[in-house]
Symmetry: D2
Subunit: 100 residues, 4 copies
């Protein structure tokens, strides 16, 4: 992504913050592997759909977590240093893309 | 899930069908691991959000693939054997849950 | 839309069915007008967003209602008359478009 | 909604801004009435679904427009006056509700 600011967040994530996101992602990774196994075992499609739906929900939660942090640190910092408009345009672009 | 019919699809998936779905899922698994790395490296939040959005799109595509197969085999078979209503109710429940 | 079958559903909607859908749509129409008033009165953006979100939810419910009927009548009939594949392809196209 | 700040946006909307949103909403209102007519005329369900999908897309666009303005005025102002966290929490709540 051709973002306007930097490669790293303004305020570095704490280890606890990182771990919380990584834990969620590890669970999602496990769920994705679980579905591979279901497909291999030729399990009933509706059950597979339910699992895909569960991952979808879990992924949304990580998305919210990252978005909230992004707004509370990067966007807030950008607003305070007079670059709020660019940061908000960037975030809106991502949000529009997301819901596609 | 407490589905009404069976543990397996009416028409077993061919190996090619299985492989197509599993390949998509393996790519998604890799993408999820990629985001873990981005979080560890304390990468810019907006870039992470773009990657989460990409997984979201990839997951939707697997969902469509499985749904289409489900309708063309399981639901179709259920309709032909007089159990269409139950199969459709089941699918509607999943769809409603999905978009939450 | 360039659909493959007909201009009308296979089984005509009963008056009660029609009225149920129309009532929901009339409520949505009223909600949309309500938001116009909020914008005219220069109401707080967050309150407007909450109302847009409510319409979004109401619209989804009508969508499910129509989809369920479509599957239980049009798709079911198509399956029974050997045109199930076309009907399912058509529905999948709409579903993909929907979530965009 | 029990919002934390005020009944009105910090910067009042200009007439042009109001008109742009109201025009979009009027078009949506017309689309909703159009679907009522389709239901009354017992039109093919798939065509009705396509129209519902079009309203859904139009509604999303209004949502983005209002969200962008909200962030560029209300949230930005809140950040500058030291109430950014509350404003962001409020917006996150709405976003979570939206995608349900």
């Amino acid at each position: 992504m051709d973002h306007f600011l930097h490669d790293h967040p303004v305020t570095p994530r704490t280890d606890a913050e990182k771990q919380a996101v990584i834990n969620r992602l590890k669970r999602i990774e496990g769920q994705v592997r679980g579905i591979q196994k279901m497909v291999e075992d030729d399990r009933y499609c509706a059950d597979i759909l339910v699992q895909i739906s569960a991952i979808n929900a879990a992924l949304k939660k990580v998305g919210y977590q990252v978005t909230e942090r992004h707004m509370k640190h990067c966007v807030t910092d950008a607003v305070q240093s007079g670059q709020g408009e660019e940061a908000i345009d960037e975030l809106m672009e991502i949000m529009k893309h997301f819901s596609k």
